[in-house]
Amino acid sequence: MAEAPEPAAGRATMGLAAWLAQAGPIPLDARLEVAAGELHALIGPSGSGKTTLLRALAGLYRPRAGTITCAGETWFDAARGCDLSPQRRRVGLVFQHYALFPHLSAADNVAAALGHLPRQARGAEARALLAQLGLADLAERLPATLSGGERQRVAVARALARNPALLLLDEPFAALDARTRRHLRQELAALRRRLSIPIVLVTHDLEEAAALADRMTVLERGRTLQTGTPAAIMTRPASHAVARVVDLQNLFEGETLGVSETPPETLISWHGETIRAAGALPFPPGTAIAWTVPPAAITLHAGPGPDGAGPKGAINVIAGRIGEVAVLPGIARIVFLAGDGAAAFVFPRPPPGAGPPLPRPGEVASIAFAPEAVHVMPLIGRLETIAV
């Protein structure tokens, strides 16, 4: 996973800064800041406004309010009536289905975006760009005769041809088979190291975002909910809605009971148990909250808990039984049904032979996790969250 770049001085001038808002017809309330050279993933379920936001950045969609500045230029400022056309924005856009011109060869597709060069120079430059992407032999081919991966690379070459100040990628891997996708992801990771412009990648694939992006922004119903490194968002989401969008495992709802003094811990009532979260969190007693515990932080113990053969002195001990044991390559995945079976925890175990023997489904057991591993989030807007 790539490290997040420090917010560099001058980001506002060289990078992208956008704020877009409107009540309808497509609701938007989005803020986006992407530094030059940063690959920023925009993630959210379908219908969350990712593509609309991307189209607005490209000048293909005009929101009611907001501003977009990139590379020191103002592209859009609704209050001042400024709205540069897509032609004047110097933006490269790779469409989800690539939108190659079907009647033009790969080279002519790229040359079409080289309008800033003299006519005689375009052919050679188009071929040079195609060669950089490993398509030197396919320059004369029509898009219909290219494979999905080759079309994607032609689309990337066309997007880069304008020497853009901003590169936008709309689900560029969605239409590809798994093998080509893996290969082209590596190519994109290599390509981006050569680019010193902000790159925005729209995806609904978390794994893709985590593998490629420096930072990501979570979008739901047109609202940007949280921006941060993929690791930060996936382990410490700012809200229940973010946790839902990133499909967090072991996500539960509870109610705060209060704060204990030594050590300062927040007490949560959950299915008749008291869960302890480290720190005096700023939720008044009686607040409906969501809480989560990372799968890797969960320990498994034989027996029902402290009264039986469970871990003595441990806190956050939950009794129940094993629901499901799935053995995957290199790892086993346990589903643990708590108490009355109303809630399920998922966590990994070493595969057979690499650790203690795996439990059997139906076995009585207990799990435990440290208060430091518990992450508590506000539950606001729970009823409005999207159906995934």
């Binding site: 000048g59 939108a99 011109f101 079907p102 079409a112 066309r158």
Partner: protein, 236 residues
Amino acid sequence: MVFCSLANGPAETPVDWTAFILSLELAGATAMVLLPFGVIAGRALAARDFAGKGVVQALLALPLVLPPSVLGYYLLVAFGAASPLGKVWQALFGHALVFSFSGLVLASLIVNLPFAVQPIERGFAAIAPEIREAAWVSGLSRWAGFLRIELPLAWPGILAAFALTFAHTMGEFGVVLMVGGGIPGETRTVAIAIYDRAQALDGGGAGRMSLLLLAFALAALGLVQMLGGRIGRRDG
């Protein structure tokens, strides 16, 4: 039977080439004037959403379902010497609009609207909106995007519109008879000449001219079929 007496009729005359050439001129003029309009209207209907779009599409399709005699009657009334249009025409050009070649062209333009607009609209509608947007994002102006990307992609539809308009005008009968009256050398098209020959029991002349129009129509439809296949391929 009428057909038998026609086929065996004694009065054998050659093809009425004056009428045939008049039909060619009418078809050519109609197609040349309608095509630019068809491109503008077809592109607008395919690529834009506007209030009353459905009404416009229905009105453009009306000549397809309206009996030619009904359309011809209304055009006759609209073009007549008593109508505002007829008066203006008389004042400007010194002759009546009805029963003139100009009147025939004007009527033919209206009759052929669906044949010109619909194939072009389908041609433009087959272009995915992202293709148009990709042209703009690539830096092509709206005009350059239209000329270099959209027009070549919609070209099969435009050629189909030309072939259909041309062939349909060659064979148009009802409206031409109502508005033109069948004056030799001025408004008697080949379709009317066939009717006149058949009325005069000249089976040979009617047959030869009918065969000519049949060949024309088949060639036009063959062209449309071929081009329609190309639209499908590009779409996919």
